[in-house]
């Protein structure tokens, strides 16, 4: 299933907003991790993304049992946010 991230706004920077987005998706997204375990995030139309928002959103979806894939994007703020999120945790 593809999630159009621009549905949540064009400038996505705060943790509370990321948390709210995942709660809204849980209520209205129509995806069941048992039926459709893979979610593809489409960042088309985003102006600016910060890792705080993305962290809350992705962590919330993973907690529900989804596997997250990122669709390719040329938006630098998206790419930098994904890069820092995907860094391995410190010991």
């Amino acid at each position: 299933m593809i999630i159009k991230i621009s549905q949540f706004g064009k400038i996505l920077v705060s943790r509370p907003a990321g948390r709210e987005a995942v709660l809204a998706f849980q209520a209205y997204g129509g995806a069941d991790p048992k039926q459709q375990p893979i979610l593809e995030l489409d960042f088309d139309g985003i102006l600016s993304l910060a890792p705080s928002w993305l962290d809350e959103f992705v962590t919330g979806l993973k907690a529900q049992g989804f596997e997250i894939h990122y669709l390719p994007t040329t938006n630098l703020s998206v790419r930098e946010s994904i890069k820092i999120l995907e860094e391995p945790p410190e010991e």
């Binding site: 600016s48 962590t59 930098e80």
Partner: protein, 241 residues
């Protein structure tokens, strides 16, 4: 046909307007830094001192709404879409940190000041608050911390947070990585009495600030000044609205 004297008058008028624009921008930055540095805002009796500047965003929602406006101005100033995206996300991370870590613990003024402007080929963004500061918040999870300078070093280089029961803590690391990723970017960051500069415009950002008397017992909270170079073929000679 424009006469030679008319051309000289026009050039003088434009350069005077540019000098005023530069002075107004510098006085905005100076005012914000002075606001941050004051020991006690409520006791400041100087009539010229603005205790509640227009740029003060008492709630996160106000800050985020102004951030949207700022991103529009960045584009009008000549930054590319990629630069607008990056600068907006960096300012957003720094600003939202103010609210994440100071809700219910502001020293006096509630909220963060958020302002922006342009001078010559630079777009500047300033976020400052009178909250706890990095040392006080990180000390709760790093008892071995000894001072604000160490707090800055840790905050910008490690994934760490004082909100220890939550998975977070990568925001300032992101800020550092973006600023250092290319030339034409800079950040001056100060918390309490310690500071650090990042990027090749970091030292220039520091040079924009007035010297504050050392006997001021503040500052509390954090002060961040971002500088971003506007591409040469996009620099506007118009004053920003």
């Amino acid at each position: 046909m424009v006469s030679f004297s008319g051309l000289i008058f026009k050039m003088t008028h434009v350069s005077r307007r540019r000098r005023i624009e530069v002075m107004e921008n510098h006085s905005s930055i100076h005012s914000l830094y002075e606001w941050f540095c004051q020991k006690d805002i409520a006791e400041r009796l100087d009539e010229k001192f603005d205790q509640s500047p227009d740029s003060l965003c008492e709630a996160r929602e106000v800050f985020n709404a102004r951030l949207s406006s700022a991103s529009v101005i960045m584009g009008k100033a000549g930054l590319t879409a990629d630069q607008v995206g990056l600068l907006t996300s960096v300012a957003g991370e720094i600003g939202n940190n103010s609210y994440d870590h100071n809700l219910g613990k502001w020293v006096d003024a509630v909220g963060a000041c958020f302002a922006w402007g342009q001078f010559e080929s630079r777009f500047w963004v300033c976020v400052t608050d009178r909250g706890q500061g990095l040392f006080a918040t990180l000390k709760t999870v790093c008892p071995e911390l000894e001072n604000s300078q160490q707090a800055i070093d840790i905050a910008f280089h490690r994934r760490i947070t004082s909100r220890k029961n939550e998975l977070r803590g990568n925001g300032l690391k992101f800020v550092r990585q973006v600023i250092n990723a290319a030339s034409g970017r800079g950040l001056y960051f100060q918390t309490n009495g310690a500071f650090h500069t990042f990027g090749d415009l970091g030292v220039e950002a520091h040079s924009e600030l007035p010297k504050i008397l050392k006997d001021t017992q503040g500052p509390f909270g954090t002060f961040a000044l971002l500088l971003w170079e506007i591409p040469i073929n996009r620099t506007s000679t118009r004053a920003l609205p």
